[in-house]
Symmetry: C2
Subunit: 301 residues, 2 copies
DNA sequence: TCATTCCATGAATGGTATTCATGAATAAAT
DNA sequence: ATTTATTCATGAATACCATTCATGGAATGA
């Protein structure tokens, strides 16, 4: 079926470069005879010569010239492909698709990703936020390779590792009446506007671990996507929000907001990094996990 | 040395298209086992899998995805190459490089070339006018494939065929004193300005076959490249020129010029088409010669 | 649970690419 | 003109490797 092979192009190019079959044969580490036979067969199959044999010099025919051009175009691509697949094999190259199920974690993620990109220049990092089947499904379906989530779900084949823990706090404006308290009680939010990320209630710890157990609901509930808009709203007294303490503290000065403990003991949270057990063999994925662990050690809460 | 072969790309693409090794094997007319072995070997050499084997479904790995892209890019080029070389082999495709050693023949050439181009859409026609080693040398050195010349030079390996004969005439303006004569004598040009193409004198028949034998020279000699400029100059009485009769007659009305026989018997010329004997096997070259012959039969002088 | 479909594997084989040995043709050197 | 050194082509022998055959295990779907 196929007559033209990579080898033929390799020969044609070598002959062009070396000027003779014999020299080309040496370059390709085979006998001159091998090349002669190979090209003879090709020419027979094509029904046309690749070279004019004039004395002992080979001059490309029109077909030969065409094939030479082809060779110069295709062979580098073969070479590059082998090199790149080699990089895939050694785990030096790939793409790391990270799924996020945790809004405020974006900030944390950036702190891991930037040194990671520097260390693994051949790995593309891709962050996704929306999944049809949920984060776990996306992980299983190979839609993503890593999942950043506060809700580890133990399934065979998946591993979840805590990489970050922090306290979830209420954030209020500087002049807010609650701002002087050491901690806040659920009932104190009855007349407040609560601002959250636009996700379902059961994924909001303010509700699941603070308000709902006490049977309390805030006066209003607003959903806003962007974290700094949330902070601005809070700063201007338009509402209160629940955010990680570190995030609030980082922005306290700039926005004029204050963190308050949720209940006397606070609400502690953990962020997990989930991955498929089998993908742990991939160097660049493991490297990411290690970077995340290192970060946790260097920045304990 | 080389691990990745066209075959592998062929397999990878077929598996992608057919969805399974078995189906791909059928498409490629080999056993499923053959493909399995082939890809196994490739994977061993690369050190990485091309597909994730999940149950009985094959999902491309990152390396596999990369190779699939490569396959979709390169395989069509292989296919196209085989097709084109096939055309070369059947003489349907090529490039015909025509050398011109005869200025006024350009008009004639166009009449052959335009139907030729229509009949042989895959043949590129290239017309060259300048050669370092002369037309014959260019023909020998494969710089051109056909030579249009008035001077056939018989050499072994070369063939010259007369394809066109015509009378070379003197052309003068409508009101020129000579314009009423039936023919002109060399001596009558003593006071004229003679316009010729800018080539050496020994290639100008007005000199070699008319003036020089009579020991006559014109008052002035002007060299002009473009034929219609020559005609305009002649029409405005600025000089006389020697051109093929058919060319003059074609333009007699438009420019207001008159053809005059050179001497009582006229100067008859022949144009030859030269080619390398061995290239006569090439279909599209032979076709050109046949077209030229047909034209001669259809337009006898 | 059974039948079916798919891929992997080891051994056997058949084909083919490569080598070896040699000849013919050309170009360079004497 | 001879000689010498290259170069490519060719046929036969060989060694290698791709393919097949036969089979088993694993997953899917009825």
């Amino acid at each position: 079926m196929n007559i033209l092979e990579r080898t033929h192009l390799e020969i044609i190019r070598a002959v062009d470069q070396c000027g003779s079959l014999t020299a080309a044969a040496e370059k390709l580490h085979v006998t001159q005879s091998a090349l002669s036979h190979a090209m003879r067969k090709l020419e027979d199959q094509f029904g046309t010569a690749v070279w004019h044999r004039e004395g002992r010099v080979l001059r490309p025919t029109q077909a030969g010239g065409y094939l030479l051009e082809l060779a110069n175009r295709l062979l580098p691509q073969f070479a590059r492909a082998e090199e790149q697949v080699g990089q895939f094999a050694r785990g030096e190259r790939g793409s790391l698709r990270i799924g996020m199920e945790c809004h405020p974690c974006h900030q944390w993620l950036l702190k891991i990703v930037s040194p990671y990109l520097a260390a693994w220049p051949d790995v593309d990092v891709d962050v996704k936020q929306e999944f049809q089947l949920g984060g776990i499904g996306a992980l299983f379906g190979h839609e993503i390779d890593l999942l950043v989530t506060p809700d580890p779900l133990h399934k065979p084949g998946l591993v979840f590792e805590p990489v970050f823990d922090y306290e979830q706090v209420l954030v209020v404006g500087h002049q807010h009446p609650l701002s002087k308290l050491r901690h806040v009680q659920p009932a104190q939010l009855t007349d407040e506007t609560l601002i959250t990320y636009p996700v379902s209630l059961d994924r909001l710890d303010v509700f699941t671990r603070f308000l709902t157990p006490a049977g309390i609901a805030p006066k209003r509930h607003k959903r806003i996507e962007a974290t700094d808009i949330v902070l601005q709203m809070v700063a201007s007294g338009r509402g209160v929000a629940a955010l990680p303490r570190w995030l609030v503290e980082e922005n306290a000065e700039r926005f004029g907001v204050v963190p308050l403990r949720l209940g006397p003991r606070g609400v502690r949270k953990q962020i997990f990094l989930g991955y498929r057990e089998r993908s742990y063999g991939t160097d660049y994925l493991r490297a990411f996990l290690e970077l995340a662990r290192d970060y946790q050690v260097a920045h304990p809460q």
